[in-house]
């Protein structure tokens, strides 16, 4: 088991003929991901790393069962690519692209909700079910099979912490990148619920950041969880961010600080690691390991 994706997931790569996408297609194939199709309008018929390319998602779906798509197309075309996948009924859409306009993101998230699909990103490193399937851009060698679930907003910090877990003999069930942007498909709570149900997952690492109130909301659910949660929140030393007029202040009303998040998580029973490399020891403790 694992969450969202596993060794049977058939993957479509959007924009596969691009430089980044073809590089990461190779990396994903090397990880063992079942990439069955690519899509670049007008390039239908060619192959990239042995993967057949189609002109549209519909065409790919006429020829393969598609369980998940990963989007590498530039920001101006990301909304269209996401809509194309969601409209065709693809149940998991991973949007790696950075710099997507926030109103586009809002529309993508709303449509995904209506279609009952899972969207990771925009601006996500992707998702890895340890040893089974990698969709996105993380470096392969730091992600191995195991029983720690990881959920994060930010990319490289997740490699850092996951790399530390792996180095300490703690493999991962699934590592989920929700995306670093303002409006992304999932919230911590959505992913925590999946980990709570997943038999493979024995402990969860939550990697958060200052800003927003996603972590505070997650803390409410962590209270009910049977599985231990270890958290790290980045941004303890950051100066107060720039505010969005009065509106930002009215919405946040003092939420979103490092202190507030740590207090909420601690009160909910999560262990909060002071620094990124403190995470593995806390996970071992939570799992009753030495």
């Amino acid at each position: 088991m694992a969450i969202i994706i596993d060794e049977n997931t058939n993957v479509l790569v959007m924009g596969i003929t691009g430089r980044q996408a073809s590089f990461h297609t190779k990396q994903m194939l090397a990880y063992g991901t079942k990439i069955v199709a690519g899509c670049t309008p007008g390039k239908g018929g060619v192959e990239v790393e042995g993967v057949p390319v189609y002109n549209s998602v519909r065409e790919a779906c006429e020829n393969h069962r598609i369980d998940a798509s990963v989007i590498f197309v530039p920001a101006p075309g990301t909304k269209d690519a996401a809509f194309e996948n969601l409209e065709a009924g693809v149940p998991v859409v991973v949007i790696v692209t950075e710099g997507v306009p926030v109103y586009d993101e809002i529309q993508i998230v709303a449509y995904a909700k209506r279609k009952g699909a899972i969207v990771l990103g925009p601006n996500t490193f992707g998702i890895v079910s340890g040893g089974k399937c990698k969709i996105g851009i993380p470096p392969n060698q730091y992600f191995v099979e195991g029983n720690v679930g990881v959920v994060a907003r930010s990319g490289t910090l997740t490699y850092e912490i996951t790399g530390n877990l792996t180095a300490n003999g703690l493999g991962q069930s699934t590592v989920v990148g929700m995306g670093g942007d303002r409006a992304v498909g999932l919230t911590f709570i959505d992913v925590l619920k999946m980990f709570e149900k997943d038999p493979q997952t024995k402990a969860v690492v939550l990697i958060g950041e200052i800003g927003g109130n996603n972590e505070e909301i997650a803390a409410e659910y962590i209270k009910e969880m049977t599985k231990p949660v270890v958290a790290f929140i980045a941004g303890k030393s950051a100066p107060p961010g720039k505010r969005m007029g009065h509106a930002g202040a009215i919405i946040e009303r003092g939420k979103g600080t490092y202190k507030g998040k740590v207090e909420a998580l601690t009160a909910a029973g999560a262990k909060v690691a002071p620094l990124p490399f403190d995470v593995p020891a806390l996970v071992k403790e939570a799992l009753g390991m030495k």
Binding site: V102, T156, L157, E160, I207, E209, A238, M244, L275
Partner: protein, 373 residues
């Protein structure tokens, strides 16, 4: 990107929203001319991106063109919170019967735009109790409709069939249209003023989504970035200046924050936040390093965990800078480098005599040591 008040009001006016009579000028003579056109008491408002204009004396109330000229003269020379005043907005002085608040912004938790409104607007809006604040999320697939606006008006306690009520129903709908059509992260009117039967936007605050600028080429903006922020932005990177003495570059916002947190936890003081994430190439990385040198730090800490970022690109950039500077670094450099193509990267560094660290914490400790040497 942000807009000066006058830019926001010009945008409002294009959409048919009511704004005071007047316009932006850059010299006192023009100010007198606009005041004469208005023909009565005026307001001269400094155009800077600061919320403290009034307290700083950046808003004046002349009664005649001569007074307007004098007011403009004074204000145009000012510096408010470090920002020089380069233009002023000269407007009719409004009779103010009531001040309201109205804005639309993005609520990331809800993943929707949200309208915020209050019948108790003005400078104290942030201190208003919750029950004076109306928040209504906007369903992106449904869009904005008259019923939504009517319910905002009802909840503000304004009779819907009054001239004020009817006008606000229009304003609510137009504000959302502006947000969607112009990719505005924030459109704020504070105060929205009742002036006899009129409802007028007495101020404006508009922020356009940076990520949407590719499709918003016709809009005016204020560049409020520092030279370093601007230089980083031009490279597609994100920079924030801080007060410490260790310059920092890392790849990804989260890891960069984590690096700063680690430095601080170990007793160091970071000089900046610089995220070079997202596959930044060799050349841009080299330029980013030069930005760091320009801060005159006591040490530089480069913390790279390569994913989409390639370690050989980063190492080459470091080597390029080293060579361009006559085979030396202007300040001590500490580099932590692992991930994609790490062997190639480390080999390149070795050639210029730099030994990369494996772990962030070791690199951080060394950088602090050097900064205190």
């Amino acid at each position: 990107m942000k807009m000066f008040e006058y830019m926001g009001k010009e945008l409002f006016a294009k959409y048919g929203l009511p704004v005071p009579k007047g316009r932006m000028v850059t010299n006192p003579e023009e100010a007198a001319k606009v005041a004469a056109e208005i023909g009565g008491p005026c307001v001269v408002k400094s155009q800077v991106l600061s919320g403290k204009r009034g307290k700083a004396g950046g808003i004046k109330f002349p009664n005649t063109p001569e007074e307007a000229k004098k007011a403009a003269e004074e204000v145009l020379g000012m510096t408010i919170q470090g920002l020089p005043v380069e233009c002023v907005l000269v407007e009719e002085k409004l009779k103010i019967d009531k001040e309201l608040y109205m804005s639309i912004t993005i609520d990331g938790s809800a993943k929707q735009a949200v309208m915020i409104a209050s019948a108790f607007g003005g400078m104290d809006i942030e201190e208003q109790p919750e029950e004076h604040i109306i928040k209504k999320h906007i369903d992106p697939e449904l869009g904005m409709h008259p019923f939504f606006a009517r319910d905002v008006v009802r909840r503000m306690g304004i009779p819907i069939r009054s001239p004020h009520g009817q006008e606000i129903v229009k304003i609510v709908q137009v504000l959302y249209k502006i947000c969607v059509e112009k990719d505005a992260e924030l459109v704020e009117i504070n105060p929205l003023v009742f002036s006899d039967d009129r409802v007028i936007a007495a101020d404006s605050k508009v922020t356009i989504d940076d990520d949407a600028l590719f499709r918003m080429k016709d809009l005016p903006f204020v560049d409020d970035k520092t030279p370093e922020e601007r230089a980083a932005k031009d490279l597609g990177l994100s920079f924030v200046g801080l007060d410490g003495d260790i310059a920092v570059m890392a790849n990804g916002a989260g890891i960069t924050m984590g690096t700063l947190d680690t430095l601080q936890a170990f007793g160091g003081t970071p000089a900046n936040f610089l995220d070079c994430g997202g596959g930044t190439g060799r050349e841009a990385t080299a330029k980013a390093l030069e930005i760091l040198f320009g801060l005159n730090p006591k040490a530089v800490f480069v913390n790279i965990f390569g994913g989409i970022t390639r370690c050989d690109d980063v190492a080459n950039a470091v080597a390029d800078v080293y060579k361009a500077r006559g085979n030396k670094f202007p300040v001590p450099m500490v580099i932590r480098l692992i991930g994609t193509n790490q062997d190639a990267g480390r080999a390149i560094l070795k050639e210029i005599g730099v030994e990369a660290y494996d772990f962030m914490e070791d690199g951080a400790r060394r950088a602090i040591e050097l900064s205190k040497a």
